[in-house]
Amino acid sequence: MMQADGLGVSRGGRSVLRGVSLGLRPGQVLGVLGPNGAGKSSLLGLLSGELRADAGSVLLDGQLLQDWPGRQRAQRLAVLPQTSSLGFGFQVKQVVRMGRMPHDTGLALDQQIVEQVLEAVDASHLAGRNYLQLSGGERQRVHLARVLAQLWPGADGQVLLLDEPTSMLDPLHQLSVLDAVRRFADHGASVLVILHDLNLAARYCDQLLLLGDGGVQASGSPEQVLQPAALQRVFGIDVLVQRHPERGHPLIIAR
């Protein structure tokens, strides 16, 4: 669970975000959409404590984010950055196991969790491989497994923040990875995910937040947010919005 109120931050004298409020509810996936430079990653930085807000506050599980001791915070809040700079040849399962560092659950349980999260992101076959020999998409799945391991199996009160977890994935893994995130949220954790693909957002998110120009342009259910007028205003694209013939969620088609 996470509650943010009136968040604002500026960099180099320029306001990057202002007046952003949002609530992450247990078991829900909130998607954050917006064009490049809209302030999505800054928002994630504020929610994860990486950036200090000039205005507003962030509550994690009912307590101010900066008041949590590091280890207890890490047991409730996991963050997947957009890119990783790991340049050392760990085995994949060693990388994933690092997600268990905030816990003292013991080798046996940790190994079991590592197997389960690797299975969840369809990377079991990579467990013994050298991380440096993986492709970009495989590395992205390994890091997703690592942050999932940090909160696994997921419970009410926990928060997972994901910055474009599907940016390097092939179409099959875009779906399977977000399926896994969806199932993870079903255990009670709250998930915030930054996405660029509007149709993926419509398919997997319970709530959407449309950011543009440093502020919230629209928020609500996918049906409420994914309107042609709002998308025209924020992204400058001309689209048709229809219903998915089988699943019923909005389907965005460029004209």
Partner: protein, 343 residues
Amino acid sequence: MMPSQVARWLFAALAGLLLLSIWLSLALGPVNLPLADTLHALFGLSGLGAPASPQAELIVGQIRLPRTLLGLMVGAVLALTGVAMQGLFRNPLADPGLIGVASGAALGAALVIVGMSRWMTLPAAIEPYVLSAAAFAGGLLVTGLVYRLGRRDGQTQVATMLLAGVALTALAGAVIGLMTYLADDATLRALTFWNLGSLNGASYARLWPLLLVALGVALWLPRRADVLNALLLGESEARHLGFDIEQVKRELILCTALGVGAAVAAAGLIGFVGLVVPHLMRLLVGPDHRLLLPASALAGGALLLFADLAARLLVAPAEMPIGIVTALIGAPFFLYLLIRSRH
């Protein structure tokens, strides 16, 4: 995690190598002692066995044992702090000298060596202590300056620190060059030996400070193996895993400054050990610091003893500075690793 069976064999092999280096270091020299006599002398000295021949006890006890202990500790500390810096900078090419501690220590020593020869004379009995103290202080001062230059908004910018370290190292090098220019022939020789390192002149009295620091480093760093692993993911990632990264950076820098400062104060500048040993051990045991740190400590001690053997046996009865040996072995070996990793 590598198969623990393989890890166990590797550690057994490293421990064997270390024991071999200790034995050779105690047994070989102008007078070669058989293994039995060396052991006998050790037992006699420790009071556990019957006294050995006075000659063997004198050679082992007064000359070779302090020298061997010095080599072990200098090698282990340089290798351990090398691992710490490569972890902090997340770069396998980092070296404990990067944060300016080695050049600062050399500068402190050079100032004292040249200063004493030109302007004042100290009693010979305290001269080595003044020299060591000046080296230690110089190392800490320059590192403190590098650290201050790398601070911004309450955070330590590792990249800025690295650049500050490079600049201050160059500055210290220039001042040392100036000292060399001012030095007379005898002082020049002392400076050269200092800048290239030597285990010569080891005595128990000079061992104690290094022993304390080395024990501290060897006990403390392995307790930070987890956070060093997490740091390799990135500073933010390590923070998200619950570590207080600013605190850890301070501790790693302090630990390296104390360790390298004490090592340089005791034995001069010995290059390449802190760079090559962690690199080589990473190839053998992988990047996991829980294995990498102890492996590097064992290998660092052994490597330095073998290098010292070469330094004092190859040109006997004279002695080469040990830094020449480590660089002669280390640099080509490093190039070999570089070329091999490209294929």
